[in-house]
Structure formats: C-alpha cells, structure tokens
Amino acid sequence: MNNTLFGGCRVLDLTDEKGLLCGKVLGDFGADVIKIEKLGGDPARYIGPFHKDIPDPEKSLFWFATNTSKRGITLNIEVPDGRDLFLKLVASADIVAESFEPGYMDAIGLGYAELKQTKPGVIMTSITPFGQSGPYAGYGATDLVATSMGGLSRILGDLGRPPVRMGSVPQAYFHAGLQGALGSAMAFYHRELTGVGQHVDVSMQEAMTLTLMNTIEIFEMLNANLVGLGQFFVSVRPGQSPLFTRTIVPCKDGYITVMFGGGAFSGVAESSKALVKWANEEGMALELKDFDFATQWDASTLTQEESDRRNAIIGQFFMTKTKAELYEKAVERGILLAPCNTMEDLTKNEQLRARGFWESVEHPELGETIVYPGAPLKMQETPWQIQRRAPRIGEHNEEIFLGDLGLNLQQMTVLKANGVI
C-alpha cells in the first residue's frame, strides 16, 4: 500500500483478545498484518456478541471489530516445522506482536533473542496484563480485572453500590492494543532511522492507569481517593461538606448530561443563562428568569437544598423535551448539554454522518455489508481505511504459504495432515 502511512511495514500478529487491536490499528494505517492463529482458529473468535446471535467462530462481532485489515493464516508454532515456517515469516517482518504469558515465547524457542538472530532489527511487542517481569507478571487478567487493577472501576459506579466496569466493550483490551500499536510505531520509527530493533513491553494495567485523568494528583494534593459518584459531580469545598450536583438527568425519552450552575465554572454560567432563556420562552423555569448565574451562583457557599431546588426547576423543563430536541438547541444556542446516546442514537448522530465517519465493510459470506466505526482521525494525503474485513480461519494459507514462503502444494498437504497448518 503506497498511499498509506505504514505501507511497507509487515506485522506478524500472534496476539489473543488482549492485543488484537494492535494489529488492527497498524493495519488500518496501511501495514501488512498477518494474523497467525492456532489450528481451528483463535479462541477470541468465541467472544461475543455474534452475527444474528449465532455463536460460530466465523461470526464473532468482537473478532470482526478487532481484526480488520489483516490477512489470516493458521500455524502451529510449537512444532519444529511450524516454528521453521514462522521464522521464515519473521525474516520478512518488521514487527512481531504477541500476548502470551511472559516466558512462553522463550520456552518454545521463539523469544526475542531468537527472533533477532533470524532478523536483526526486528521488533517484538509483548502485550500482557501486567508486563514481562515483576511480582504480578504471572497473574492472569480479564478486562474487568485489568480495569480494576488499573484504577478505572474504582471511580465508576453509583454511591453505596459496588464499583463498576466501563461499558461492556472490553476497554482494557482496547487500551492495551492501542498502546501496543503506539509502542510498535515508536520502535519502528527508530528502526527505520538507525537499524536497531527492540522489545516493546506493554502492560494492560498500566494502560488503564492512563485513563484516570487527574485522579492520582487529586490524591496527592488533597489526600482524597476518588470513588464513583453515580450521576453526580462533586465540588470539594474546604471547611464544608461537599456539594453534589446531578449532571446526568432524565428527559422525556432518556437521559442527558448537563452542567447547570455558574460562578467560577467557566462557560457554565453563560450556558445556564441561555438554557433558562430557552425554558422561559416556553413558559418554564420562570423563577430563574433574572437569575445572574455568574455572580449569584457561588458553589463555595451554596447549600445542597438550594442547589437541588434550582436543579429541580430546570429538570422539569428537560422532562418536556426529547434528547434530540435538547441537543439540537444546545448546539444552536451554546448550551453545555449532550444526550446520553444509546448505540441506536449514535448511529443517527448528525455530526458523525456529515463527516462520513461510518465505514461500510463487505461480508460476502454473510451476504451483508456491515457498518463499522471509521477513522480515529482524518488525513487527505494518506486516507485511513479498512483494507479488508477480518480474515476467516486460514483464509490466506495458500496465498502466504505457497506464495510468500514458496511451499509447493504437496508440502502444504503434508503439513496440513500433520497438524502444522
């Protein structure tokens, strides 16, 4: 791929669900990514949801989402013939991505030292729950465990109930994969300039800690451990009780997020004024008509009762409008308000449509074109694109083993019969 950022970069992808996004990201930016699966297919093919809810290794939507722009082969890298074929591929590769338990690649004779002997300058990217060494290096983790150990679950959830996971899309796997792609890109750049390859060691836990914004600083400066506050925003006030402001509020057909207040909150005062003006035009929230949000709303002295009372007044107005009606006017009038979009709402979002965000991907075997999330950024000169749908099991075996590696049909049949391919 000439017209892409990473054309000419070949990636061998041995990862499981924890690291699949790494190869997808590099592939969508143009790299030639070969997904190497176990015989019979990668276990991640059994992660749901599934196409039409039919559990089938060729119908996992998780697999579809995390393997675009890859070709796929099956190969048993634990047996000598498979290991040799893998090393032949390594000789043509720039990056080898893997997410096995630390030490596994060394144990099967494919550690970084061996890879480097085959291909000086090769980059190995290892994506694991906690990193290659250290007291927890041998620990296993699923998404929930990694989001918990990385601190994100702790700051989510309703007051008085257990902490919660972020959504149901495995965020820790996605973050680890994206960080793997970034570390790989850094190492690839260095290799292109100097010829020196290196081992990139990614920790899923560490990737999650990078989503915490200023949580660590709040602890160090204020000695406070943040916890999930449900639908509320809290203003910490020296010398008095904290003020809770509900920022996720119900409307006619769902929920919106809104910042209602004033005083020191920059931009919020003007937004609240514009919101009250709109409500007033429809005969509501009249009590707040002449309220000066910039000077009269002082979060440092406001009582909880008074704050709740004012929020209840505007809350009544929200109940008369749908999410879409509220957001449309918010954009028009500069009100800081947005809908809590469901997946259905998201697909109707005007901005995403106007920008051509969605990508259609052909799935001929399913007789369908499926709409995927598109580019994380836009570039005119080297457009981001999904090069192909996720590979089927062993889809490119012939192309790669016969074409790239120069096996003949008979050799390939022998290897198949012996459980290598």
């Binding site: 749901g48 939507l61 970034l182 560490e206 949580t215 602890f219 925003f233 920008r355 499926i370 999330p373």
Partner: protein, 415 residues
C-alpha cells in the same frame, strides 16, 4: 548514552486542555524539543483545573497541568497581536510538527492554520484536534469531556440496569485520541523522510472515542441490539463481578471464564458444599442463578482483605484483582517494579508523581526530566537562543505586550 527516538525533532505546541498536550508530551519524553506556546491573557484551561498545591489556586499550581506537560518548554506570547503572529510563524518555520486544539477557525484568524504554516514551512506536519472536528454541523459545540462521554455512548452503557447512566469522571476520549494521533504523526514523519512532504492530520476526539465502542456498535448494526447497562456482569462468564472484602469500601474483581476455571475457583475457596450444587455446576446454570451465586461469592470474599483474596485466586489460576484506589496504585508493587510513577520536583508544586507511558522500550527508554513548566518559564531560551532575538528586541516585545509577563485579572479556577 543511546540516542532518544525523537532527538532533534522540533515541535510547536499550540494545544490546550487534555487531549492535545499529551501528544507533544509523549514526543518530548522520547527526546523531542517541544515549545508550549501559552499566554497570560488566555490561560491553558488545565492551569485553571484542580487539584492545586495546598488547595490554593494559581497559574503555576495545578498538578493536573504539570502532569500533562512534562519535558516541555513554555513561552508566553499574546497571539492576538500581529507582531506575535509573526514570531509564531518563525517558530513554525523551525518546527517539524505543529499541534493545535483551538476552536475551529481560531488558528486561521491568526494566520497560523495549516495553509498559512505551509507557506513558511512546506514540509510541516500539522495536527488539529478538537471535540467534534474542524467541519460538520456540530463543529462549534463547546462541550467538555463529559459531553463526549455521553455522546459516544460510554455513559449510557456504564452502570446498573436498575439505575441511571453513569457520570464518568474522566474526560475519557482524551485518553484514547492522543495515542492514535501519535501513531499518525510517526507515520507522517516516516513518509516525510521518504517524500519530503508534510501533511495535515485532523481529529475529532468524539470519533476516536467511538472506536472504543466498536463491538456494541456492530451488535446494533447487525442484531439491532442497543446494549444497555449490565453492572459488572458478562454475557458469557459467571461469576464475573466486583465483590466486597474485609475493611471499609474494599473490593475485588473476580472473573471465571469457563467450567475448568470454575473448578479452580471452587478449589481456591476450599470447595464449600454450595459449590457442589448442580445450580452452579455449568456456565448455563451459573448464569441462571447468578444472584444467588454472587451472594455466595460475596460471603467468601468478605472474610479476606482484597489483597489476600487476589493472591488466593491468582494462586489457583483464577483472574482476580483488587479494585485499586489512587492510593493503592501509588503503592502497587507491580507498578513500582515498572517504575510507573516518577517523582518530579515542580518549582511551585514541589515533588509529586507523574505517569510513565504504558510501554517500555528496551533500547530507547522514555525519559521524564521536568514537570509541566511554569508559564513563560523558558522565554529567554526560546526568544533568544531558538528564535535569535536580541536583548533590545525582547525588551521591546515585553513593553508592547507581545511577550506576556503577568496574569492581571483575579485568578479564577475552572473547576
């Protein structure tokens, strides 16, 4: 000493708040020279965000700002003045990469948009990042991260099925978008090396965030299902949850992926009689009796500290982990082993912890040398040594207010 990856790379950083500045920051931690272009007249919002040293707000007292601007040089300049815009274009001519995150149109008004920058530096790599992008009907929407959390679907999919969507404290897409941008910039630098051409990279943080909802989006596209809130439950695993431990507000995450792991789990808790009940012997029966299952698991976890429960589970091969607070993270032995938190000494804030990247490079380690700078801290270096202005010229620019020196209004914290 090994060469740093981006040694010799010059970056001019006009970006603000959280998503933009992290990109130059990561380049700076790998050797690039990054100049953060700031003004006393319009503060970078992070300088106005808590937490502040000793809870006393001030332009150089936000630990939030310090964290996200490590290794950068700060210069102060009033870009509303024509002469200042000339100075900024001299910086652009010096730069390999230009970063900005202003409201769409702002850079153009100052003659600092991509097209203008290309005239003084044809090979410049220029990236713009905003919440909703440079074009489209909602491009001017002035929300903060919480609005994007709601728009992208994170809020409505997080929380309990019997409760409302969750207010997500962090500006979550700000911690997704920068990593994509960095990959694109690296690719653009490689391309420039081969072709001599620069390029423009345009990002909507909203879109970058939506890519992390991919499977739920496909579920809707294919199955018409709008995934709602499920607490901590998983469609295909049980138990899969966060359970109370000994102590106050202490929790552990435990996940059992399959029937083999269920046997490991039962062994880990000493095979109490309830585990033999056929109600729990298969994934289907466990899913069918999940409320009761979770009560039994909680009974066991309450007897242990979160750390003890994690060790027991992991020793039996069951994925489990403490639900860690900020304080836990700072004391976490694994993060200590990886030297995740680095202490840097900020001139106003003093020493505190800064996050390292999530990857370790064996040959070219990152280096965190200095905390986010005080506003205008490196004026002398930038104006004199990099831009080559004389003492007299600098004095004139201070007198004219081109170089800003003081924040004159009463300081207003943003949060």
């Amino acid at each position: 000493m090994t060469r740093k990856i981006f040694e010799g790379l010059h970056v001019v950083d006009f970006s603000w708040a959280a998503a933009g500045p992290q990109v130059p920051r990561e380049l700076a931690e790998h050797g690039a020279t990054v100049i953060h272009v700031e003004s006393h007249k319009r503060l970078c919002p992070l300088r106005t965000f808590a937490p502040f040293k000793d809870a006393q707000p001030g332009i150089d007292r936000s630990a939030f700002h310090a964290e996200y601007n490590t290794n950068k040089l700060s210069m102060s300049i009033d870009l509303n003045q024509a002469k200042a815009q000339e100075v900024a274009r001299r910086l652009v001519a010096w730069a390999d990469v230009v970063a900005e995150s202003m409201t769409p149109g702002t850079m153009g008004k100052m003659g600092l948009d991509y097209e203008s920058c290309r005239k003084v530096n044809p090979a410049v790599i220029y990236f713009s990042t905003t919440q909703q992008g440079q074009y489209g009907p909602h491009r001017m929407f002035q929300g903060v991260g919480h609005h994007i959390n709601a728009l992208a679907g994170f809020s409505s999919c997080t929380g309990w099925p019997d409760s409302d969507p969750t207010m997500i404290f962090t500006a979550y897409s700000d911690f997704i978008a920068p990593w994509y941008t960095l990959i694109a910039i690296i690719g653009a630098l490689l391309r420039r090396g081969k072709t001599g051409q620069g390029m423009y990279i345009e990002q909507a943080q909203f879109e970058a965030g939506v890519t992390f909802m991919a499977t739920d989006i496909l579920d809707f596209a294919v199955n018409g299902r709008s995934v709602g809130r499920h607490g901590n439950r998983d469609r295909y695993m049980a138990p899969h949850g966060i359970f109370p431990c000994r102590g106050s507000d202490r929790w552990i995450a435990i996940t059992v992926a399959n029937d083999d792991q269920w046997q490991d789990f039962c062994a880990a808790i000493g095979n109490p009689s309830w585990t033999a009940d056929s109600k729990f012997s298969t994934i289907l029966t466990r899913k069918g009796n999940e409320d009761e299952l979770e009560r039994f698991v909680s009974e066991w976890t309450r007897g242990y500290t979160a750390e003890q429960a994690m060790t027991i589970m992991q020793d039996f091969g069951v994925p489990a982990g403490v639900v860690q607070t900020a304080e836990d993270l700072l004391n976490d032995p694994q993060l200590k082993h990886r030297q995740h938190f680095i202490t840097l000494d900020h001139p106003e804030i003093g020493p505190h912890s800064y996050h390292a990247p999530a990857y370790r490079l064996s040959e070219t380690p990152h280096e965190m040398k200095s905390p986010g700078p005080c506003l205008g801290q490196h004026n002398e270096l930038v104006y004199k040594e990099i831009l080559g202005f004389s003492e007299d010229e600098i004095a004139d620019m201070i007198a004219e207010g081109v170089i800003t020196t003081a924040y004159d209004a009463p300081f207003k914290p943003g949060w």
